[in-house]
């Protein structure tokens, strides 16, 4: 049984039905992808509110433009192109503003931006917790120092597990360009974290 072709047929059916105004089909499309969209936006932007905004805007764009989707690329690529464009725009705005607050706003109230970053099992050992916190800060700094495109390629490859060829398609770039971005991002990480390793 060819599972991939079965899933692709299902998705094509949903898309065509949603193009015809079928609520259930549009909802299936959203639910098939929305967890990974939210997780990706959350990790790229490190902010629940920004991730929320990207989620809303991305799926609204899908909704508004689905009638024009002609199956000339797969839906996953099209959706991720929308999401990555929104995230890149957001990262570019931040680079201009350079105004990252030390806390992020969450539904439970303000939370330290670095909370939970590289803390793993350091509780109970103050020195280790301090080291871990410093390491977390260093990682955040180096991520902020990547260009939006390097950041995007790194996130999609390292955390989302996408292949560089697919990342190139999503970002409208060649596989070689994606390789170069990944190499540069890795080198910056290596240089910044060298004394912690």
């Amino acid at each position: 049984m060819d599972l991939s072709s079965t899933a692709a047929v299902d998705e094509a059916v949903w898309i065509r039905a949603a193009q015809g105004g079928d609520q259930a089909a549009f909802e299936k499309l959203v639910r098939a992808y929305d967890r990974s969209v939210l997780r990706m936006a959350m990790n790229l932007l490190r902010s629940e509110e920004d991730a929320y905004d990207v989620y809303q805007e991305a799926f609204l764009r899908v909704y508004r433009n689905l009638h024009a989707f002609r199956f000339d690329c797969n839906f996953h690529t099209w959706l991720y192109r929308i999401v990555t464009n929104l995230c890149v725009d957001q990262l570019r705005k931040r680079r201009i503003r350079r105004e990252e607050p030390p806390v992020i706003e969450t539904a439970e109230g303000p939370r330290d931006r670095l909370e939970g970053v590289a803390e793993g099992r350091a509780q109970g050992d103050p020195q280790r917790a301090l080291m871990s916190r410093q390491l977390g800060q260093r990682i955040e700094q180096v991520l902020e120092g990547l260009t939006p495109r390097e950041r995007m390629v790194f996130e999609l490859r390292h955390y989302q597990g996408m292949r560089l060829r697919a990342i190139g398609e999503v970002l409208g770039a060649s596989e070689e360009a994606a390789k170069t971005c990944l190499f540069r991002a890795t080198q910056k990480m290596r240089a910044a974290l060298g004394d912690f390793l």
Binding site: R163, R190, L197
Partner: protein, 301 residues
């Protein structure tokens, strides 16, 4: 290749993004060059350091996103639709609300349009005050007198609570792993089921999910639950079938890793077949390495 060129390729090497030939060149160079081996180890440490950094969005955020998206889509719908489409369109919520206060009167009026727009997909029309019954119009038929016959499908929602030892909970979880439309819900269900992999019915459900679920993330979760039983014949035969047909390289790699924990002659033929047909360089390389470790030839000759 010199060290500068190799160092440029090391990060791609770690991510499995080099071609087979490039990988071999890097491997050969590493065997002879302590400096590049040290660099590779440093990059591996960077990877390990970054491993715990991923944030998982809180469940409440996903729920809020979905609810707000539905509202915003409802608002977006009227702007680009004519009245006829708005009547048909599921997200153009106005007409749904119109039913609630006037019920039958509105339905009689709609009888004049009747069968022309009885959408094939169900459209929710009402939810009772308690919020536990959702009604959907499946069919309607007007008659010349102005009356209309409507077939309504009602879904009752109930809250159940319990643990895996409770038969109704267990039955529903096993069904949800198989039937739920939402891959997130199937994944959550598998997360619960895999805490009890020793039970035969749970094991069967995990095997079925691993082999047939359309979502790779859900398949991988099911595989996690099966790891402790990788030596059992039923699990191994499922691993082999999945290895040969699954479209996701991550799933295939996990299947190889589990299968090669127990070396047996029958596995050699499977891996040799996979090497011949595998399109992903990294998976092919893993197969080749596994065959080498089993002292088997890579080709079938």
């Amino acid at each position: 290749m010199n060290c500068a060129e190799i160092k440029r390729d090391l990060s791609l090497f770690l991510y499995g993004e080099l071609s087979l030939e490039e990988e071999q060149l890097v491997q050969d160079h590493l065997e002879a060059c302590p400096g590049c081996r040290a660099e590779l180890e440093a990059l591996k440490r960077v990877h390990r350091t970054l491993a715990g950094r991923e944030l998982e969005p809180p469940a409440g955020l996903l729920v809020r996103c979905r609810q707000d998206l539905e509202r915003r889509v409802e608002l977006a719908a009227p702007a680009r639709m004519g009245w006829r489409e708005r009547l048909r369109h599921p997200f153009a919520g106005g007409w749904q609300w119109a039913f609630r206060p006037v019920g039958a009167v509105a339905l009689v009026a709609l009888g004049f349009f009747g069968a022309r727009w009885s959408a094939p997909s169900p459209v929710p029309i009402a939810q009772n005050g308690g919020g536990d019954v959702i009604s959907r119009v499946r069919y309607l038929q007007p008659d010349p007198s102005g009356r209309v016959q409507i077939v309504v499908e009602e879904t009752r929602q109930r809250m159940l609570a319990g643990n895996m030892e409770d038969e109704p909970i267990r039955r529903l979880l096993l069904a949800a792993a198989r039937d739920a439309a939402d891959p997130g819900l199937r994944g959550d269900t598998v997360d619960i089921l895999r805490t009890r992999p020793a039970s035969a019915d749970v094991r069967r459900a995990l095997l079925a999910t691993f082999e047939h679920d359309p979502n790779a993330g859900v398949r991988l979760k099911a595989l996690e639950g099966l790891k402790a039983f990788a030596a059992e014949p039923e699990v191994r035969s499922t691993l082999v079938r999945v290895l040969l047909v699954d479209d996701n390289p991550g799933v295939r790699i996990q299947a190889i890793d589990l299968l090669t924990q127990k070396r047996e002659d029958a596995l050699v033929g499977v891996l040799q077949e996979l090497v011949q047909r595998e399109s992903n360089n990294y998976v092919r390389l893993r197969c080749q390495r596994a065959l080498q470790e089993m002292n088997a030839s890579v080709g079938t000759f």
